[in-house]
């Protein structure tokens, strides 16, 4: 390893912060960018909620400021087209620019080398490149808001032909082209990260860091990396084909006999098939759901074991469950297409795999509960978030069973039931775990602790407001309320549900406001947080054996690993008179 990589602090500002070789700085780049995109995605969600509770009412403040621009009409109201842009871009941003990069680019980059005992990623250059490609993708998507006809409005799923035919809806003009480029870049970046993670975990583990001694966070990143490397290229292929359809006049997804609103024949030579897009898109995008949740499962496992002061229950089963989720995750995509016109016989196969994928998810929940059994639970902030993750993930997991049962799915497909389901998994699950992770590793990143009172307030209000926002969406779905309606009040049969929309909106505003507490805590703690020792939580992982904040080259000397990461309250620790023992501590006599 060269001297420059060993001490990046000696590098110039540009080299250090714009083309960093330090995986931690790359992670910070992701964190900051993700935070900005999350603020944007969250703002879009607030506008969506305003429109659903008060359809046709001018949006306070922003409506007046942005009349006739972006999503607003001349009276500062959200137009039906603006509404579709809001939902499309909210979903796109939150999935491709926030959750995937947060969990992999952010936590993966920061934690993998620290947890395996390496000084950096296997391919630091690729790592720095991956970030910039991600940012480029994000900026292309962001730029699409400023196009004359606006951003894409065909939904984050971009079903053809709506997304392809520019006369079908205004956003399917250049907005959709920008969308395709942005997604291609974000996906490309994700694949590069995945390869890097695989190589790092496979080849750069410290001596003694056997597969059975890897922390769950790293295991989950490994499994996720397989998804990123194997599934994302299919997305790249799909968006490339759609790009060709749009720009070069091919017709991969456009059937023969397609007509526009003036009944004129369109679609190039025809011969394509709209369902091909759905198959290709979901072949990536269902695994993407696991990219969104597996790292969170890993994080939660680490946090729960640490604060239960007890070894993780069923380590091997936890790994096996993640591997099973990966295997099955590749063969469940068709459950998004039960009513698409796909052969009903295929649907029965996808129903089977979808039901079965509940088993490994269940195993994980039972093992977390097993870890808490007869534990010594410290209700620290990271632990509270991890417990919230488990609780919310249970709700999201259970509601998935309804969707696996095809006859029931027919009714709830494309309704708010689905919205409730995946927000419980991704927001209640992954994002709560991410908040836990931030509170947990913040001392390692900054050398300071996060403020407890602010953290508690954020946790409690967020959890309450989250449930207020997303639980009633199950009720809307049961009532048959479709997603992506600019207003649901046009339908007579949906009228009795409207009061829930109002309640949801108020909860969502509270949820949005609560995030400012987190922001304040972040800024305050960065400046004035209590100074953190190397190992403030009494945790076993290698990252806690080095000073806080972690030095540029991580480990002065590459550690030697003697045991797994979850040896809490064991005989070895007892010999040292405490309930933890670091992975690299020599066995006490």
């Amino acid at each position: 390893m060269s001297e420059t990589t060993l001490s990046p602090s000696s590098q110039g500002f540009f080299r250090r912060f714009f083309w960093p070789s330090d995986h931690k700085v790359v992670a910070y780049q992701y964190f900051v960018t993700v935070a900005l995109f999350m603020a944007l995605g969250g703002f879009l969600a607030m506008l969506i909620r305003w429109q659903l509770a008060y359809p046709g009412a001018p949006v306070p403040l922003f409506g007046a400021l942005m009349q006739n621009h972006f999503f607003f009409d001349g009276a500062g109201r959200i137009s039906p087209q603006g509404y579709l842009q809001l939902t499309t871009m909210h979903g796109t941003i939150m999935i491709f620019l926030v959750m995937i990069p947060l969990l992999t680019g952010g936590f993966g980059n920061y934690l993998i080398p620290l947890q395996v005992g390496a000084r950096d990623m296997a391919f630091p250059f690729l790592n720095a490149l991956a970030y910039w490609i991600y940012l480029a993708g994000g900026l292309v998507l962001f730029a699409s808001f400023f196009l004359a006809q606006g951003a894409s409005e065909a939904g984050w799923t971009a079903y053809a032909p709506l997304s392809e035919v520019s006369t079908a809806t205004p956003g399917s003009g250049s907005g959709q082209v920008f969308w395709l480029i942005g997604i291609f870049l974000a996906g490309f970046s994700s694949s590069l990260s995945g390869m890097n993670f695989l190589a790092t975990i496979a080849k750069m583990r410290a001596p003694g860091m056997t597969w059975g001694r890897l922390p769950m966070t790293t295991w989950s990143q490994l499994v996720t990396a397989f998804f990123q490397v194997l599934a994302t290229p299919v997305l790249a292929a799909a968006v490339s084909l759609m790009f060709m359809d749009k720009v070069f006049g091919t017709s991969f997804f456009l059937p023969t006999g397609l007509h526009d609103s003036d009944d004129q024949l369109i679609g190039g030579g025809g011969g394509g098939h709209p369902l091909l897009w759905q198959h290709l898109f979901w072949f990536y995008s269902h695994p993407a759901v696991y990219i969104l949740v597996l790292p969170a499962m890993g994080i939660a496992s680490d946090l729960i074991s640490t604060f239960a002061r007890k070894p993780l229950f069923g380590y091997k089963a936890m790994v096996a469950a993640m591997t099973a989720i990966m295997g099955l995750g590749f063969v469940v995509w068709g459950h998004h297409m039960f009513v698409s016109g796909m052969s009903p016989a295929m649907a029965t196969g996808f129903a089977m795999t979808t039901l079965l994928i509940a088993v490994p998810s269940g195993v994980k929940v039972f093992n977390w509960l097993g870890t808490l059994w007869r534990a010594n639970i410290h209700l620290t902030l990271p632990m509270l978030y991890a417990l919230a993750f488990v609780s919310m993930f249970i709700v999201g997991g259970l509601s998935g069973i309804f969707m696996a049962a095809t006859p029931v799915d027919v009714y709830i497909h494309d309704t708010y039931y689905v919205i409730a389901h995946f927000h419980y998994v991704v927001f209640g699950g992954s994002l709560f775990a991410s908040f836990g992770a931030i509170h947990y590793w913040f001392p390692k990143m900054t050398g300071r602790m996060m403020n407890n009172k602010l953290g508690l307030a954020h946790w409690a209000i967020s959890l309450l407001a989250f449930n207020g926002t997303f639980f009633p969406m199950h009720l809307l779905g049961e009532g048959g309320e479709m997603r992506r309606l600019a207003t649901s009040t046009e339908y007579q049969y949906l009228q009795p549900l409207q009061h829930w929309n109002v309640f949801i909106t108020h909860s969502a505003f509270l949820l949005g406001a609560a995030q400012f507490i987190f922001l304040i805590n972040l800024i305050y703690s960065l400046q004035k947080g209590e100074k953190a020792p190397a190992n403030p939580w009494g945790a076993n992982g290698l990252e806690w054996t080095i000073p806080s904040p972690a030095p540029a080259h991580n480990f002065e000397k590459i550690p030697r690993v003697y045991r797994g990461p979850y040896e809490y309250s064991g005989p070895e620790a007892a010999k040292l008179g405490r309930d933890w023992i670091a992975q690299d501590e020599e066995p006490p006599r």
């Binding site: 035919v165 039901l355 039972f366 494309d414």
Partner: protein
């Protein structure tokens, strides 16, 4: 600090309680089911899943809460040093496998019924052609063959007979739409370039109770003693407040002194003031994002008694009703003649 945290946990639990109770009041209520062929089975499968999930929910969340309370840190407490319990792990892996496999077969039976051919007598076939933002319906007319001059076509208006199987053959002109009748537990995408089909059967007629100004559903037999107006009334919607919630009323419309009314299984002419009910449609929704007007792509399905259906059918045939004919002859018949095969 620990004491404070306990207070916050308690407050949170209390905060949850009223919300949960409120939500529970509404939970488990799907839109009314009028599909007598398999709607009840869909609902009971939903109910079964609901009970199963509720049990798992209470079990797991209960355990989570209980363990956190029981095993929270106290001075002198030491955690159990254990890496797992293989027997327990096998049990909680295999039980879900068995349970979910059973569920698979349970749901497959119903799925095969729903998506297989309609049982019994030949169903009424209605062609559905979706476009931004309207539903076009075509009936085969007296000769029973599609693509002939006696077909009749309507826009956003579909009629079926109560108790009769209906098969829809659908496609789309421009983008994907989804034909969704919540009360029929039916949803099927209409995809350009391909024909998809599904069937359903409704056994109740939707009526507006003029006295209570509310929607009610009756079987044709239950309708016998009631006076149901078939014309002369119009729906009036009034926005209640900024949330867009509306109140609905059916009000007399036009100046006719007598209107068609269904009474004791016959169509009779009676003054509008005699009506107890007005026949009204259930909504057909589009559940697949199809563009800017997606939110108002609403069709209307009238479930008819034999008498009201025959009244409507005769009217259509007599009028040679061919709304937006060019969509059918210029696009569907021209580009997809195979869709007209029985």
């Amino acid at each position: 600090m620990r004491d404070k945290r306990r207070w916050i946990l308690a407050a949170l639990a209390l905060g949850f309680a009223p919300g949960a109770a409120w939500a529970a009041l509404d939970f488990g209520t799907l839109a009314p089911d009028l599909n007598s062929a398999y709607g009840g089975q869909v609902d009971s499968l939903y109910g079964l899943l609901f009970k199963l999930v509720l049990l798992l929910f209470i079990g797991t969340q209960g355990a989570l809460a209980l363990f956190v309370l029981l095993f929270r840190h106290k001075k002198g407490r030491a955690a159990l040093y254990s890496h797992g319990h293989p027997a327990a792990e096998w049990i909680w892996t295999l039980i879900p496998v068995v349970l979910l496999t059973g569920l698979y077969f349970q749901q497959k039976k119903l799925w095969d019924l729903m998506r297989g051919p309609a049982p019994g007598a030949a169903p009424l076939t209605v062609q559905v052609f979706a476009e931004q933002f309207a539903w076009h319906f075509r009936y085969a007319g007296p000769d029973g063959v599609f693509g002939t001059a006696d077909d009749f076509m309507t826009v956003n208006q579909m009629h079926v007979r109560a108790g009769e199987n209906v098969e829809i053959h659908e496609s789309a002109k421009d983008v994907i739409h989804s034909f969704f009748i919540p009360q029929a537990r039916l949803k099927q995408d209409a995809v350009p370039g391909m024909l998809s089909s599904a069937w359903f059967e409704m056994d109740k007629v939707a009526c507006w109770d003029l006295k209570r100004q509310t929607l009610v559903y009756f079987t044709p037999e239950e309708l016998n003693p009631k006076k149901v107006a078939l014309e002369g009334f119009a729906l009036n919607a009034q926005k209640k407040d900024a949330t867009g919630e509306k109140s609905y009323r059916y009000l007399p419309f036009g100046k006719a002194s007598k209107v068609d009314m269904l009474y004791e299984g016959k169509i009779v002419r009676l003054p509008p003031g005699d009506a107890d009910y007005v026949q009204c449609p259930v909504e057909i929704a589009c559940s697949q994002l199809c563009g800017i007007g997606h939110y108002r792509m609403i069709g209307y399905l009238y479930v008819d008694t034999p008498e009201t259906y025959s009244r409507w059918w005769k009217q259509m045939v007599k009028d040679k009703r061919r709304d937006d004919e060019s969509k059918w002859t210029g696009i569907w018949d021209k580009d997809y003649p195979q869709f007209n095969q029985p």
